[in-house]
């Protein structure tokens, strides 16, 4: 059974996070990510999806199976139209939180995945991209 090359899931309720994580697991298995890297990616995805729910009232997550120059991996893009992050550098600092979180979500997720990118425009929204490569780490 093969999965579509990409899939978008709307994240508006906590149950959507459960669905997202199970789909991320399937994509990860399809590109043969190591079990530990699967766990890292799924945990990072969970952090990002929760952030979208907590700070931006939800958004969309797109999962993609990557295949580039004989490299395979999974890419997940989180897009929301929330208030945005005024100071990304500050948000990426461990322990900083504007909500009542632990402030580990963003910096923690960055440590878990191979590639991490965050773009944000205050008032417009935030886009976070994470990638885990099959041969990464």
């Amino acid at each position: 059974m093969s999965l579509p090359s990409n899939e978008t899931i709307r994240i508006v309720r906590e149950q959507d996070v459960v669905l997202l994580l199970s789909r991320v697991r399937e994509y990860s298995a399809q590109v043969s990510l190591q079990p530990l890297n699967q766990t890292r990616l799924i945990t990072a995805a969970s952090e990002m999806a929760r952030n979208m729910l907590r700070y931006a009232n939800g958004g969309r997550a797109t999962i993609e199976a990557l295949s580039k120059n004989a490299r395979t991996g999974v890419k997940i893009t989180f897009l929301d139209e929330g208030p945005g992050i005024p100071d990304i550098q500050q948000a990426m600092t461990s322990g900083f939180s504007t909500g009542n979180g632990l402030g580990l979500g963003l910096p923690g997720a960055r440590r878990l995945v191979n590639e991490f990118d965050i773009q944000s425009k205050p008032g417009k929204g935030t886009c976070v991209t994470i990638i885990q490569w099959q041969d990464g780490r």
Binding site: E14, Q15, V17, V18, L21, P35, L36, Q38, T39, R40, I42, T43, S46, E47, R50, S94, G101, L102, L104, G105, P107, G108, A109, R111, L112
Partner: protein
């Protein structure tokens, strides 16, 4: 609503989490456990998580909350059975699980609870190794 069962085993409460926790289930467990500690006067709570495949910062906080609340009610908390991948991910994420005792498996967790609550000493006094003549 779905609930995670809490079993009473002597002076302890035993919880086996067989599914990945979603928020409401985790928050429900937090409340149910604190109520059960109060109702039963339990001295310890053992949470078995070998079937849990991910623990993110929210779940880490719930586990920490359970331990803090139980401690205020006079019960120690031990988390056992964590998968290696979950342990690695927790550390990389930066979660410390403060105030939570941990052990490798249920057996070691029970020993730890007996030790932490001082009930092992009591057992020794009640059941001397050599019967008195």
């Amino acid at each position: 609503m779905e609930r995670i069962p809490i079993l009473k085993m002597g002076p302890f409460l035993l919880v086996t989490i067989q599914v990945d926790l979603y928020d409401r289930l985790a928050l429900g467990l937090e409340q149910d456990l604190v109520n059960m500690v109060s109702k039963t006067g339990a001295r310890g709570v053992l949470i078995e998580i070998s079937a849990v495949s991910i623990v993110d910062s929210f779940m880490g906080r719930i586990i920490g909350n359970i331990a803090s609340m139980s401690r205020i009610m006079g019960a120690e908390t031990v988390v056992v059975g964590m998968q290696p991948a979950v342990a690695i991910t927790l550390v990389e994420l930066g979660i410390t699980l403060q105030g939570v005792h941990t052990a490798l498996d249920v057996e070691k967790g029970m020993d730890l609870l007996l030790n932490k609550t001082g009930l092992d000493q009591l057992q020794k006094q009640e059941e001397p190794d050599e019967p008195a003549e």
